[in-house]
């Protein structure tokens, strides 16, 4: 018994464990998951969109209105893009007014409104809430940023 205990205390070279195939490729699986996650986060930061397959010139955005902000706060497109915004609210009715293209909309919590326009101007354009939703209503705004192509 004492012989085996001294063997235990010696944490030296261990026998190699016969791993199953899932274990062998664990690092690969974990790396894949982490890389997908990082890709998603970086893509979002660059474009405020989720990776969606579609036409090159049409960009689809999901915008949520809540008390008292829009998510995401910035929509980035290139000049000439066809922009589609699916607008929804998670709490109370909100408004949407995009002055540069004169688009008005209201959205209630269980609805989605679809807004479409072509980004023919370059610059940073504001849209804000026009349906009273509480004391933060005045500050509720976000931006459409149109960048030059190329």
């Amino acid at each position: 018994m004492y012989g085996s205990i001294s063997k235990v205390i010696r944490l030296g070279k261990q026998t190699k464990v016969k791993k199953s195939w899932v274990e062998r490729f664990m690092s690969i699986f974990i790396l894949i998951i982490i890389m997908l996650a990082v890709y998603g986060v970086v893509y979002w930061n660059e474009t405020s969109r989720f990776p969606v397959l579609g036409e090159e010139d049409t960009k689809v955005f999901y915008v949520t209105a809540l008390m008292w902000e829009y998510y995401p706060t910035e929509i980035r497109v290139l000049e000439g893009d066809n922009v589609i915004i699916h607008l929804t609210s998670i709490d109370v009715p909100h408004g949407f007014y995009l002055e540069a293209w004169n688009i008005t909309s209201n959205v209630s919590p269980n609805q989605t409104e679809t807004i479409e326009f072509t980004a023919d101007k370059v610059g940073k354009f504001e849209f804000y809430c026009i349906f009273y939703c509480g004391i933060g209503h005045e500050d509720m705004r976000a931006y459409v940023v149109v960048e030059e192509k190329g």
Partner: protein
Amino acid sequence: MEQPYKRRNLLKNKLLKRIILSRNLQPIATLLAFAPFIFVAVTGIIGISSGAKNFSVVFTWILWSVLLALLLVPFLGRSWCFLCPIVWPGELIQRKLWKRFGSSKLMNLRWPKILQNVWLQIFIFIFFGIWMVVLVTQPFVTAIAVIMLITGATVTFILFPRRSFCRYLCPPGLFIGLYSAYSPIEVRVKDRNICLTPTSEGGCEKECYSGSENGYGCPWFEFPQNMVSNIDCGLCTECFKTCPRDNIALNARPFGAELKSESMRRKPDEAWRALILLAFPLVYTAVLFGPWAWIKSWGDLLLYTNSVGMVQHFFYIILIIDIVLGIIPGLHLLASMGSKLLSGTKDISTKRLFVNYAYAYIPLGLMLWVGFNFSLLMIEWSYIPVVLSDPFGAGWNLLGTTHLPWMPIALPIPIAEVAFALSGVLLSLKVGYNSLIAIYPNRKQAVRALIPFAILTTAIAIVYVWFYI
């Protein structure tokens, strides 16, 4: 070392044995747990800032932690640790280093003797527990907490051997480990005499601890031959695979059986662990479910109203620390002193009573945690299907359930909470009585000593129930 209670070896079932002894089970289960937690980090970072509509908050605090407290821990002990995903990046690196350098740690670092207890783990848990208000309502904070845990675990696994992180640092582990003592399953050797056979007479070479080609040596530094408690056994199933005599069993046993046996050593750090884990569901109930809006806003670090400043937030921190580290342990100390007085004997010190009896709070604390999580689930469950359809809060509708209204199921809560409190008190008194009987020679002395603790136990249960009924 004998723990005389009824046990049944579940591994006698051939199918269960094959599943548990398969080396594929743990990696697959871990991957299935890893994906949602990484998704928690992603949705927390880039998703909507409203917690109730973000997968990050809803999955972690309404699905996962509730599942943990209501099902996994009370019935399956430390089973979460079996598939815990946050340690896998670290454990994989550690095992690769093991293969290459023949050692499971870099730079020959040993976990410091002075930290081979749960004091540090208690402080880390309190740190997370104090900021519960922002942790459970802000997706970004939840995401950062998950990333911090994964990073901390990875670094610890690289520097220190085996699952030092899990044993000495992990915050959920503080809860999971302690209450696994109450669960109805356990890992124990079948026949200790087989373990004690010397190698010269055909005995084993303690592969359960040192590993063999069939599996790793116990990552939790547990020695099955001497195990009398579940608290530090992570149910990783390695020992079933390595034991050359097939002498280790996965037993079903009565709830809390190990708490009633005398062979469990009662340690001061674990006593405080039991006290703090008893205090927290009370604190969570009072702060989150109580009518005092000022406590909530003082605890809300990301301040929304201008009237609350750092001074108030600091006061909130002091208040929580006071209740958790001061009031509850202080009351327990008073009860210990009263107990010593009532028992009429000077032989048993107050400190010994303090440490021994604290273990009796394990069933009570568990029932309060179960009660708190039950109430949370009944009121907020309807956010789960919403968030599965729209994890980022962006307006998706993957499963068609994004626009589900809030549907609380409040009717069963009051009676359930009383039931949890009652069972907590009864089970706690039973364990407490057994603890006192073991140290007092005279039964009447033990019963007299029980009285102050019974008063404290009852008072805590009644205060808890006040918030629900």
